[in-house]
């Protein structure tokens, strides 16, 4: 018997409006792209995680909608190409995407509509950060969040190559790389990510990694009791575990979920960039990247209307209009 409504398990609460100190400070950064010898923080934040229980997901796209609203992005209105996926891929204006696959289970002959929320996994060992040649463009906080600092991004696209999950997308408008921030601005004031708050069925939950792992184990037990004998957790070791992880009904076959990587690893080439090699590699890449950016900006003779519109918004945002 309880006297109050149970606490939501999404770690959702109503956002504060009074000024609050941020809990995510520059001093909480543990790794910085293209920056060796980052001073170790004086405190260790509790590791956080977003759990995506694919078996509870109804594919409603509330996560996409909430993400757009919170992050003030402006996805374009596209077209239907014969599926429910819209947009058709992650974009610089859509950090998360429901991916739909119709799978006929050979063991049961039952159709299963597998719907997976795609987006940044916030790897413990982030390939994007390792690949990034721009100092300070990608950082990792001690709670596990991997965030892009756009002021430092050169738009080279190496984070895309470095990502074992193919997540970051480069904006054609400002030539910077975008992806899910795990709503670092919300987490900084004790809130969960916007998608987890919105998720109607609590398929997305947010909390400490330990709590989320415990919840995931409970969910796996429930699924096994319903006949999904291969139900399990997807928290891949190859990238040191992730701070966004899944419960899958068929954890033995991640690829049936719209090509979720079976054994994600950072590319050996990226892993190989160490010491002098990395510096040299970066010099080449940095120059090439900056050149590409400049070429991209000044040699195009045609500006798409949506790019124009996006550019105006960008200017307004920057000028604080």
């Amino acid at each position: 018997m309880s006297d109050t409504a149970p606490q939501p398990t999404t770690a959702a609460a109503n956002p504060p409006v009074q000024p609050l100190e941020s809990n995510l400070l520059p001093s909480d950064v543990v790794r910085i792209s293209a920056t060796p010898d980052v001073p170790q923080p004086t405190r260790q934040l509790t590791k956080v995680a977003k759990l995506i229980d694919v078996s509870k997901c109804i594919g409603c796209k509330a996560c996409q909608s909430a993400c757009v609203e919170w992050n003030d992005t402006h996805p374009e209105i596209g077209e239907n190409i014969g599926s429910y996926e819209n947009p058709h891929d992650l974009t610089p204006d859509m950090f998360t995407l429901m991916r739909f696959s119709e799978w006929e289970n050979p063991a049961t002959n039952e159709l299963e509509w597998l719907i997976r929320k795609d987006g940044c996994m916030h790897c413990e060992d982030p390939g994007c950060l390792k690949a990034c040649p721009a100092p300070g463009a990608i950082v990792q906080y001690s709670n596990g969040i991997v965030d892009f600092i756009h002021d430092n991004c050169i738009g080279c696209g190496y984070c895309v190559t470095g990502c074992p999950f193919d997540i970051p997308r480069i904006s054609k408008v400002d030539h910077k790389s975008y992806k899910c921030t795990l709503c670092s601005d919300r987490v900084a004031v004790g809130q969960g990510p916007a998608c987890a708050k919105a998720c109607p069925t609590k398929a997305i939950t947010f909390g400490t990694k330990d709590d989320m792992t415990a919840l995931a184990n409970e969910r796996v037990e429930d699924l096994k009791s319903r006949g999904y004998e291969n139900a399990g957790i997807y928290d891949p070791e190859g990238v040191g575990g992730t701070h966004v992880f899944y419960v899958l009904h068929h954890a033995d076959k991640p690829s049936i979920y719209s090509n979720l990587a079976e054994n994600p690893r950072i590319s050996p080439i990226v892993e190989g960039w160490k010491g002098v090699t990395k510096t040299a590699g970066m010099a080449a890449m940095g120059v090439a990247a900056a050149g590409a950016v400049l070429m991209g900006l000044f040699t195009r003779n045609k500006v798409e209307p949506e790019e124009e519109e996006a550019a105006e918004r960008l200017v307004q945002d920057r000028e604080g209009i």
Binding site: N14, V17, A62, E69, P135, Y141, A194, L297
Partner: protein
């Protein structure tokens, strides 16, 4: 090159950004050249909260609207963000993809902002004042009712029935609007009266 100011502004800013980051990249890892890591400022700080319910389906999720300006204090208020109310027993703070984007319904480019009139055969609306619009409607109603109200049927029974004017009531207005609408419509004898529940 003939580009407008906004576009020029963008290029200037973008150019500055490229210059800064390029320098950073050339510096091969000097942390001080890079902007320090920072999370975005929390955007709801010092906004005004108002409790409401979602306007779409009948789950009636609790929502909180965050605005610049306070309607209760008589100020002009602009809604900046809407999200679920975690205190609400039904939705516990969650929202569906429609509810999560309610702000964009409020600010839809196709929101109506002034009364408009379309003349017979016209291809466009023209702006009118509220008084002009309501005077025209009241006149048309009175003329039609006076001409067509069925006061008695063929058997001579008083029936006070007005069938040449119909009224469709809404599906998302408040009970209070509905009650006032009911009173006005019924007092006139309108029987072609319906709401979205029918369909």
């Amino acid at each position: 090159m003939n580009i407008d100011l906004t576009r020029r502004g963008f290029l200037r800013l973008a150019g500055a950004g490229v210059a800064a980051t390029s320098l950073g990249a050339m510096g091969f890892g000097e942390a001080e050249a890079a902007e320090a890591a920072h999370v975005r400022a929390f955007k709801l700080t010092t906004t005004t909260e108002t409790r409401n319910t979602c306007t779409y389906c009948s789950v009636a999720c609790g929502i909180i609207m965050y605005s610049k300006g306070d309607v209760k204090a008589g100020e002009i208020a602009e809604i900046m963000h809407i999200e679920g109310d975690a205190d609400h027993p039904t939705n516990r703070g969650t929202l569906c993809p429609k509810g999560a984007a309610l702000k964009d319904f409020v600010k839809a480019p196709t929101r109506l902002t002034r009364p408009r009139y379309r003349a017979a055969g016209a291809t466009e609306f023209q702006d009118v004042t509220w008084d002009e619009a309501l005077d025209k409607i009241a006149r048309a109603m009175k003329d039609d009712r006076d001409a067509n109200l069925v006061q008695v049927n063929e058997a001579g029974v008083p029936v006070n029935r007005w069938t040449t004017t119909g009224f469709l009531a809404a599906s998302a207005t408040t009970n209070e609007t509905a009650w006032l609408t009911y009173k006005a419509v019924r007092s006139l004898g309108i029987v072609g009266f319906d709401n979205q529940a029918r369909v």
